[in-house]
Each structure stands twice: as C-alpha cells, then as structure tokens.
Symmetry: C4
Subunit: 225 residues, 4 copies
Amino acid sequence: MSEEKLDATIEKEMGRKETGRIEAFSDGVFAVAITLLVFNLKVPQLPAGDTSPVIDLGKALFNQWPSYLAFVTSFATILIMWVSHHSIFKMVYKSDSPFLFANGLLLMLVTVVPFPTALVAAYLRDPAAAMACAVYAGIFVLINIAYNLLWWTASHKRTLLNPDVSDAQVKSLARNMYFGFPVYLLATLLAFLNPYITIVICTMMWIYWTFTFFERSSTTEVLES
Amino acid sequence: MSEEKLDATIEKEMGRKETGRIEAFSDGVFAVAITLLVFNLKVPQLPAGDTSPVIDLGKALFNQWPSYLAFVTSFATILIMWVSHHSIFKMVYKSDSPFLFANGLLLMLVTVVPFPTALVAAYLRDPAAAMACAVYAGIFVLINIAYNLLWWTASHKRTLLNPDVSDAQVKSLARNMYFGFPVYLLATLLAFLNPYITIVICTMMWIYWTFTFFERSSTTEVLES
Amino acid sequence: MSEEKLDATIEKEMGRKETGRIEAFSDGVFAVAITLLVFNLKVPQLPAGDTSPVIDLGKALFNQWPSYLAFVTSFATILIMWVSHHSIFKMVYKSDSPFLFANGLLLMLVTVVPFPTALVAAYLRDPAAAMACAVYAGIFVLINIAYNLLWWTASHKRTLLNPDVSDAQVKSLARNMYFGFPVYLLATLLAFLNPYITIVICTMMWIYWTFTFFERSSTTEVLES
Amino acid sequence: MSEEKLDATIEKEMGRKETGRIEAFSDGVFAVAITLLVFNLKVPQLPAGDTSPVIDLGKALFNQWPSYLAFVTSFATILIMWVSHHSIFKMVYKSDSPFLFANGLLLMLVTVVPFPTALVAAYLRDPAAAMACAVYAGIFVLINIAYNLLWWTASHKRTLLNPDVSDAQVKSLARNMYFGFPVYLLATLLAFLNPYITIVICTMMWIYWTFTFFERSSTTEVLES
C-alpha cells in the first residue's frame, strides 16, 4: 500500500466519521422505537370465576390478533425504513443543516409509529377502524415525504454525496421512494372503504420492498456493501 | 504520509476515544429519552354505544392536539440539545471529573423531559395549565444551566479543549447558550399570564436555534464537521 | 509489518464494517428488549387500612415470585441469545438479503419476549398457567427456528462466512442450535401437564448453554475471541 | 513510527475490540435503564371541581418529592456504576466465560433498579416505607456483590487484565468496591429503624464516590484516561 493510498484510506475513514455520530444516534432511535412496539401486546384479563381458564386464555390471546398483525406490519416497516436509511447514509459522506433537519423530521415520525400501531390494535375490529387505519397509513405518507426530503437534501446538488455514487444510483433510489407516496396515500383513503385493505396494502409494501431489495442487491454491489 | 503524521493521526484518534465512550453513552440516553416521548400519545377511549364512531375517533384524536404540540416541541428541543451536545464534544478531546459530573447532570435533566411533556399534554386545556407550562419551561431553564456548566468546565481553562479550537469559537458557543437562560426564565414566568405564550416561546426557541445553526454552519466550517 | 499485511488488516477491518451497522443495530434492539423486562416487576398495592403494612408489603413482594422467576429466566435467555448472535456475527463478514431478513425475523421475536414473560408473571399461580407457559416456551421454539435460519443463510454455501472459519466450527454451532428446537418444543407441550416443568426446562436451558459456552471457549479459542 | 510500534498499536486496537462489543452492549443496557427511571415521575390527577387548580397542581407536584428523591438517587447511583464499569473495562483487554457471566449478573441487577425506585417513590411517606427502603438498599448490596465478582473474575489471576495495570491499581479498585458492601448492608438494616436514614446513606454514597473519583483522577492518570 502506497503512502497516498493509506492517506486516502485514513481520510476516507475520517470523512465517514462526519456522518457517523448522526447515523449512530439515528440507529439508536430506530432500535428503541422498533422495540417499544411490544407494548402493544397486552396481557389479557380473564373474568373472575372463569370455568375453563386455559382455553379462555388461549381464546383471549387469539382474539388479540389485530395487535399481532399491527405489530408485525409496523416492525417490518420500521426495519425496512432502517435499511433505507442505511442505504441513504452509505451514499452520503457529509452533512449540512437542511440534511440534519430532514433527518430529524424523519426520526420524529419514526418514533411516532408505535402510536398509530396501538390505535389499529385497539380499533381494528371496531366500527371506528376506518379512522384508526387511515391515521396508520397517513403516518407512512408523512414518513415517505420525510424520506424524499432527506434524499433530496442529500442529492439535489450532489454536494453531500460520496463522489463514486453514480447518477443511475441516485435516480434508482429516488424512484423507489417516490413510488411509496401514492400507494400509502391510496391506503389512507381506502381505509374509509374497508380498513382491512389498508393493512393489506401496508403489508404488501414491506414485502415488496424486501423483495426489491433482494434483487437490487444482487445486481448492484454498491448498495449491498 | 510521513511517519510523524501517521503517528499524530493515530494518536489523535486514540485521544478522541477518551471521550468516545462518554459520548456514546450520552447518545444512548438522548436516543432513548427522545423515543420515550411517544408514550405521551395515548389511544383515546370512545364511550360505549357511540353512534358515529369513525367521526368521534377523529374528533377524539383531534382533541388531543395539546399532546401533539407538546410532543413536537419536546422532540425538537431534545434534538437541538443533542446537536449542541455534539458541538461541545467535537471541541473537547479530554475529560475530567467536573466535566463528567456536569454531563451527568445534563443527562439527568434530559431524561426528565418526558415528564413535564406529559404534564403539558394532560393540563394544557385545563385551568391548571399555568403550573404545567411553568414546570415545562422551568426544566429548560435547568437544562440551560447544565449546558452552561458543561461548557464552562470544558472551556474555562481550555484544558479539555482541542488545541485548534479558537477563542472566537469558544465565545460564540457560550454566547449562544447564555441567551437561552433569560428566554426560558421569561417563558416560565409568563406561563402564569398565559400558558400558550410559554409553548410559543419554547417553539420559537428550537426554530431559532435550527436557523442559527444553519447560518453558523455555512460560515464556520469547524462547527459543521 | 509489511505493506501487504497492513493492507489486509485495513481491508479486513473495512470488511468487518459491512456487517458492523447491522450488528450495532441488533445490539441496540437486544439491549432495549432486555431492559424492558423490568416493566414486569410491578409495585404491589396494599389494601387501605392495612394494620401491619411493613410485613404485608414484604409478603406482597414475596408473592410476586412468579414475576421474578419469569424476569430472571427471560433476562438470562435473551443474554444467551445475544451471545449466540455475537458468535454468529463473528464468523460472518458479509451480508446479503436472506441473511438480513433472517436477522430481522430474529430481532422481531426477541423484542416480543417481554410479552410472554408478562403472561407468565400474571398467570403462573393461576389455573390458566398452562396456556401462559406454553406461549412462553412457544416463543423460544420460534426464536430457535429463526436462529437456525440465520445460521443457515450465513453458512449453507459459506459465501458470507469468514474464510478462516473451519467446517468443524460451522457444524459445532449448528449442532448446538438444532438441539434447542426439540427441547423447547417439549417444554411447550409439557406446559399442559404441569406449567412449572416448562419454567424448569427453560431455566435449565440457559444454565446448560452458559456452561457449554464455558467449556467451548476453553477448547476453541476462535469462538471466544 | 516504527513498523513494530504500528503493528503493536493495531493489534492493541484489535485486542480492545474483543471486549468492545460487550462494552457497547453493556452501555446500551445502562443507558436504557437510566432513562427508564423517568417513568417513576407520574402526572398527578387533580380532583374534579377543584377550585384552585394552579396552586393544587403545584402542591400535588410538590407532594411527589419522594419520587424526585428516589429518581435523583437512582440516576446518580446508576451513573456512578456506569463510570465504575467503564473503569473496570479500561483495565481489561480479554474476556472469558466467568467474566461474561459476572457482567450479565451485574447488568440484570442494574436493569432492576427502576423497580425498587418505584417502590420507594410509592411508599416513602407510607407506614410500609421501611420495607420499600430495605429492598432499595438491598438491591445495591446485590449490585455491589456483582461488581466484586466482576472485578475478581477479571483480576484474580490477572489473565484478563491489560499488562500495564499495576498491582496498586488492582488493589485500589478492589478496596473502593469492598467498602460499598458493609455500607449498603447497614443501609438495608437501618431502614427498619428509620427509612429516611437509608435514603440519606444511599445519597451520601454516590456523593462520596463522585468526590473520590475527582481525587483519584487527579493523582492517577491511568484511571482517568
């Protein structure tokens, strides 16, 4: 290894550190938010004097399925968001204030997710389910906007991007994110038709993104590394 | 890269590690505290036999706006505090006990923030709002004192500061922090006149700091890096 | 140190970083999940007008022993899981999508653990204990499957493994994990015979793994480092 | 820098990494546990039809002083524990299974702290205070035992210690920790005489350790770095 190369390597490492603490803090927020989702799973109370407690506890646990569904959907969605966040930060090697602000907005919305999740868990089998599910998908609309904002602040003049990121990569990431906006908006509106459609769309979204990510990572090495 | 330079680079890196674990621990505390704010957002209970549940859930969610306002204000304020904490630690390369103690005091007050936030969320539309808002702004007065103490322990003899930090930077940071004290004190007192003024001042503070940070980071490179 | 060696060292370090952020995020999730277990320990309420409050608070605290038992068992099990996760990631130096997906599934199940723990704490001395304990051990069956999946995605073609990991190590880790599946499944089924057996088996499992780990780490250095 | 020195530096860095992930995980647990203490601060409920709500909310907040006292004492004690943990890990450069086990025991007890803190907050002004305070100090007795165990597993044969740690340092750290055991035991027993004595002793302990740390760090550089 020549001195120049070593120099460049060390400087690159140091350059990475500029965004390192933001990334570590963001990771912390994602990790706490995703773990707090478990508070939506509540221990059911059996009525006093229950004559078949084992079966009734089983039934009570089974009847909480909207909680489990909301838990899995929110967990998977936050995890996918974290992967996207990671993808963005891998292409970024500097930060500025609009970027920090957009990241802050995104983190705020991510920490909010346990709230609409609790709302869906509480109301999915209730006549008020339409509103609960609309709020749930509505939060994902806002999160999508925050992601687009984050990526725009990072890439619009390419000032914060790593020089070896190609235009194709910038566009591919943007396209993948734009796409989420109309789908989540549709999911929000369709809640008033049938709340289950909203949950199905949200579930399909994270499954879709997981598979896209599979494919993408086998073709473009940079995104995977 | 000469051997001396490499030597210095590695030593600098190791020097940074002295405060590295304190910084990582502080980041963890900030990340958990900011994420716990979501517990102030509660799932509303609809009365049994509600005849228009979808609209009523919408109304109940809307009526919780004091919770959302308190959530956003606290989230943004903790985030700005974290950025300030980061700015301070970027200039510090050693730690001593008074510095550790001041940092501990600061962290304690930061973890407290969800409590007055819950207080404001519960009482903002209530006759007791004045007391809730005074306590809310009062915590920020205390946090401001802790920040000034932290910066003072780091900079008063410059023993803990990175040698390349200029006097102008030390003063600029101090000035920016002194300023918070009278404003938050005023916000505390004005709560008894009108609690909403307190919330408006606290909101203006984080917006002001976000913009100041914007400007500052475009003029002085060191603070941004 | 020759240039080649330095080169290799730095590249190895960078290679490690590929899985570094996933590992750091996973650690965060484990750390939060393990700490949230404390919410299963509840402050007992004494009846109003209690005539011997000191003794009665002591008794009330003592009567909560199912909570303490569930807390210790879950804490130790999550900790052992974290150690296993660490062992797996020490042998892995690359990641791909199936591996990320398996890791996500594992993390989701780990964050769930506080829920069945609360269930056992609430129902262990109750007629419904059988169901609570079956769910508790059932989660560990699922976690075991997720671990096997994670290790399989990492090792089946050895594409993600560190080249110096021997076949013996791959098999030894797999064998250790397969073993958990039938035992936890048995613990799940035996809950309907006697719920305490389930807790005893789960306790024996983490004690067994702790001791195995002891032995293993004294014979094979690689696993310990 | 000679090649040998660079080699040694890099190897030392890698050597540190062996305990690095345990340290990072432990930090995460400490950070979450210390932040969860805030849940002991509860929003007071005012009676309906209160005629002087502002003053009554102030009074209700003031009457919660046992919560604040317990919060500050626990926060400061966990922080001091974290500093001690940090001191121990700075002298350790390898880990083995008994050490990992002792660290796990310590972490479990640290995560428990919010529970006796809640107990003290709930019962300090109640006739049952003696039991609550005895449990509170009792947890610190157990934590002290875990610390002594951790330090013993690390230092008894010096196999895990950094070679440049002197015997004097090993003894000084051990002496400082032994000392905690009889004092916390006394605090536990004296709770039955007067619960406030327990809180005073616990408060004096963290103040004492803060000051000791001040002094120690000015005489022995190694412990500070």
